[in-house]
Symmetry: C2
Subunit: 250 residues, 2 copies
DNA sequence: ACGCATGTTTGCTCTGGATCAAGAAGAAAC
DNA sequence: GTTTCTTCTTGATCCAGAGCAAACATGCGT
């Protein structure tokens, strides 16, 4: 399961040279990966690069959807506000992920940075033009959407049928995989989300998330390094719990 | 919210003459709607029409994804089996909906008929050819995917933050809307799903679904007609509850 | 019409996670 | 360094919904 990492599949289809979008300016964005040199050249003039601080909103729910964004550095949170004022986190996004693409006139959710970072912004009408000029790019979007849909369905399963600890374990493993896929090495990962964010994503309260994390810590499965570092010492145990295989080591 | 009705948006964009796919043989499928006469002609030879009985599987999780299906009559259920054997219903589909489109080699979920019905089957490689010949069709798929993604996110919100009664109310309203969008008139709707199906879709047990339904019945919001007929007598009350506006009529 | 299978309702108990409350630990500001 | 703010942890209680069990419908096959 990879509920928070929609581009996993996008990456898989690519050679390693374009595996992560570390240099949007040098035109190796995930989105642009299938384009040849000429097309990339065409594309390059169309996009702007923007820097954001922690907590800055990239776009807000209800904003006119005039742009499409590629997150080039950092981590972001996607949030949706319900009519009654409750807020929910519907996902997290990392470097290389595409944000805010929709055929609708308005963004159905907002995106906020969890860390400082940079974003590559493209005018939507220009993107549509690019689609017409380079159909392979539209195909890429379609594949990505189907993958993301599949990830959403995994998340739906998790919310509907998994216990609190199973969900938190799945989240941690998923987070680690997402960071590794983007070149992270070593057992200590960034955890730039608050307990409240995780809770709102997993359909739990922040206290329940905290209790699950404490429980993992007491079992020796994880170690915390300050407020934003986490070490998965027994990743296998977490993965087993996440897969619903509570106790099968006899 | 319309968690179980992914083609809602597909329909909205169309003139009424092609609003529902009642005659796949006569080439008015939702999928084919944006095609002109020549393209439709091209398409018609490529598809097969199949009839299914209640409970028949259209395809199973893990099957090679060699075909794409359009449900032309009846209602189907999409299910996914978890590694530990638990089953979850991830959605319902109606006439006009597309089933089983994926860039993967295997179907990630299974589809079973809840009623008798018919399905229009298209070879996936032929569909890819059609995409190349008629790019507008690929665009249609993309739009549909984005819409479906948005519906999934709604469902994620519902699972994460709504109470049992709110979820059941939302489901009933959504079901009614889906049937009306397909030409249904009158206050009595088909409810071909069992309580267990609804529960597995909403992340609840069948008993909890039954209790919610009974509670609505006692409040006079719905009436049951046999096991598969339901009348929404006070649809507004259900809709308010579904929207999280528990009590705001002062 | 009868019997059987499948699905539904309802009652009861129990538990996982929500909720409320208080403190502890980091991080940032001065 | 100290203060202050935010986030995290932990404890205690409560309740929505799960789980179990026992009738109760509905509809199908014969």
């Amino acid at each position: 399961m990879h509920p928070l990492d929609a581009t996993r599949a996008l990456m898989e289809g690519l050679g390693s040279e374009s595996s992560i979008c570390m240099k949007c300016g040098s035109r190796s964005v995930g989105l642009c990966a299938p384009l040849d040199a000429a097309a990339l050249d065409d594309m390059s003039g169309e996009s702007e690069r923007l820097a954001f601080d922690q907590r800055d909103a990239i776009f807000r729910q209800g904003d006119a959807a005039r742009h499409v964004y590629t997150l080039t550095e950092g981590m972001a949170r996607l949030t949706r506000v319900l009519p009654d004022g409750r807020q929910a986190v519907i996902g997290f996004r990392f470097a290389g992920d595409i944000l805010g693409f929709t055929p609708e006139a308005e963004h159905a959710f907002g995106a906020e940075m969890l860390t400082r970072g940079t974003v590559c912004r493209l005018d939507r009408r220009r993107l549509e033009q690019m689609f017409r000029r380079y159909p392979v790019m539209e195909r890429r979007f379609l594949d990505l959407c189907v993958k993301e849909l599949s990830a959403s369905q995994d998340h739906i399963l998790a919310l509907g049928r998994f216990s609190a600890e199973e969900r938190v374990a799945a989240f941690l493993v998923s987070l680690a995989e997402a960071q590794e896929r983007r070149g992270h090495v070593g057992p200590v990962f960034d955890l730039p989300t608050t307990r409240a964010d995780i809770g709102e994503f997993l359909g739990l309260t922040l206290e329940t998330v905290s209790r699950a994390v404490s429980s993992f810590r007491k079992r020796g499965w994880i170690r915390l390094h300050g407020h934003s570092g986490i070490e998965l010492s027994d990743r296998n145990a977490l993965a087993c719990l996440a897969a619903g295989e509570g106790a099968d080591a006899a």
